[in-house]
Symmetry: C2
Subunit: 391 residues, 2 copies
């Protein structure tokens, strides 16, 4: 049987795997949540990814199972693995992307740099943590959060009283995660991929700009990142990938602090928004690399195709009925910008597409020496995104 | 209704439109000849493209109709246009891609350089043409030829006696096309695109290497092509595109003669094998550009993403059952080569995929000054193609 990759989840990440799958001759099938999902074109089944029977039925039609998101429950993953399904990344690795407390614990075991953290189950514990960490903390629901949901900055425990009441805690029997509110100078993202046979490849370190917990822009390479910083980010990503046995793309979101050190913020074990720039800005894009990795094919070259790439998300976007006109306008603004559209309907703040501008010569001077290239590319990408109706 | 592009024909050209359609958010639907066609993923109908009813039914589900090939009969195209279907390219333009005699006549009317040619209906006419053109001629069936089929080099008319007998000529009531056997030094391809509103964009001039009438390799930019030659190729393509009202991608295959002049060989009004390098080697690939053009969206930048790109076809390829292994081997040979696979089963000499290597810096020195870059890229692409089982 030729390679058949099954993707659980029909969102834009599954959608963006379609092009590379077609190019590599890989049969791609999607288990979508509903009709009309972004990855509809490759959807062979519609159903609930939390339902063991549904996922097993879908898995029986593919040779390798991977994911658009990290929300498939552990018991379902465990059941698939005991059936002998090639689940990539596997249940063990995914556990650390699903459970932020397990992640913090494992990162600490691996000796990797993380913000100070503690598990808290009541207001007294949290208030103690806050007072020991400068009067502020970040409180996170250990599972289920996304795009800023499930995260709160607090200066006293009563601000998350609704999360810490006994009924709410029934959903989080371990307790909640409290972390120091890191005073970072910027956020970085180290994207990489690992295959089952242990091959590892990383892209250049990128800078991501977040607004309200949502990624809005990414610049690669991260401006003014010296070799020591880039090497440290690489080392962290490689340690995590091998330390938890990741298969596929791994995004490590990092804080850079005032003294130039790095702290691990979040992990994602799938193609990630902070890696969308690789589709146009790298010889091998993250969606192609993810497919190569989960199929245990050799990984592709991660070199940049220009001096720098800037990706700007389109949040919100045009109202239904205005999409064609917005696309025409956006393409007329900049003939070299790459527009990616997810086929999602408008909703306030929703990620509906992104724009990438690649600038400067491949193999050219380091971007830290030519910040003008980045500034120009960023302005161009923002202009196209605005034409697409970005908020 | 949002953009829905319908592609008649389910071959690899339709297949390679899928990725760009997904990225631009364009709904793509394919009328395939049979189940399991290369563009199966987007196939919404299976049927005969020669059947008016079938094509009309398919056309009723899309906003713009375009093509994987040029074989839809003129009466079917005319019927669609009289229904008000947006057929792109239109019946008039396609006529010149379908009928080589009409093409030669129109090129001559436009004052463009073509080999000496004549219409012949019997052996005496052909022998006269041969004796007037150095004792050799190329005889072509005016319609239906492809990949070297329907073309013969002859030194006397009796060599095509089977084509010139009255029964055989019933299929070619105009007669056959006789052309001088051009003593060319190499073959070139000028790829371009035109939109209904008249926007025109061309890629750099490329050199194509043919073997037995089949394209085997393409190098872009064409080595040692000076500005005068490139300008002349551009002028020819632009004249044809506007002169016959092409919409979509136009490939003009050219002969370069010993004195450095150009003669038009063949036309194709669709993405073309000699333009596959643009998928990886240009900011806008030919499949994306074709979609933009047929939808009358602004055309994309055609700049190269490196100093040079070399595309090598995979002809034949691995036997069924060996495809996965061949892919793994090919990807292990060169991490930066881009492998494209068409999902076709093995058959001797069949085009089953292609490999592109992009080399050197974007915006770098002209390739004519760095022929080593091309030689190296060509060797790399050939090596990967061989690993894929190319004959």
């Amino acid at each position: 049987m030729a390679h058949v990759v099954g993707v659980v989840g029909g969102g834009q990440l599954a959608r963006m795997m379609i092009g590379p799958a077609v190019e590599l001759g890989v049969d791609i099938r999607v288990l979508a949540e509903a009709e009309g999902a972004p990855a509809q074109l490759a959807a062979t089944m519609v159903g609930d990814y939390r339902d063991e029977k549904t996922v097993r039925e879908f898995a029986s039609t593919v040779t390798v199972l991977t994911f658009d998101h990290e929300h498939v429950p552990q018991p379902v993953l465990a059941s698939l693995e005991s059936d002998g399904v090639a689940v990539r990344p596997g249940a063990y690795a995914l556990g650390f992307a699903q459970d932020k407390i397990a992640m913090r614990r494992r990162m600490a075991e691996l000796g990797l740099p993380v913000p100070a953290w503690a598990v808290v189950s009541d207001e007294a514990q949290l208030d103690r943590f806050i007072s020991e960490h400068g009067g502020r903390a970040v409180v996170k629901l250990p599972v289920g959060g996304y795009d800023g949901h499930g995260v709160r900055f607090v200066s006293q425990a009563s601000e998350v009283a609704d999360w810490l009441n006994p009924d709410a805690l029934l959903g989080f029997p371990q307790g909640l995660l409290a972390e120091e509110a890191v005073e970072f100078t910027r956020e970085l993202s180290q994207l990489s991929a690992r295959s089952p046979s242990g091959e590892f490849a990383a892209w250049t370190l990128a800078e991501s700009v977040q607004r309200g917990g949502i990624c809005v822009e990414v610049v690669a390479p991260a401006p003014h990142a010296d070799k020591a910083l880039a090497d440290e980010a690489y080392r962290i990503a490689e340690s995590i990938a091998s330390g938890v046995g990741v298969v596929g793309v791994l995004a490590v979101e990092l804080f850079e602090t005032r003294d130039g050190s790095l702290l691990i913020n979040e992990l994602a074990m799938r193609p990630h928004n902070t890696g969308h720039w690789t589709m146009d800005g790298s010889v091998t894009g993250q969606f192609e690399q993810h497919l190569r990795a989960v199929l245990d094919l050799p990984l592709g070259d991660t070199a940049l195709t220009g001096a720098a790439a800037v990706m700007v998300n389109v949040l919100g976007g045009p109202r239904p009925g205005d999409v064609d006109e917005a696309l025409a306008k956006a393409l007329s603004v900049d003939a070299a910008a790459k527009v990616h559209w997810y086929g999602k309907e408008w909703r306030k703040g929703r990620k509906v597409g992104h724009v990438t501008v690649v600038a400067g010569a491949r193999g050219g001077e380091a971007v830290s020496d030519s910040i003008g290239v980045v500034m120009d590319a960023r302005e161009r990408a923002r202009t196209v995104a605005r034409a697409l109706g970005a908020e």
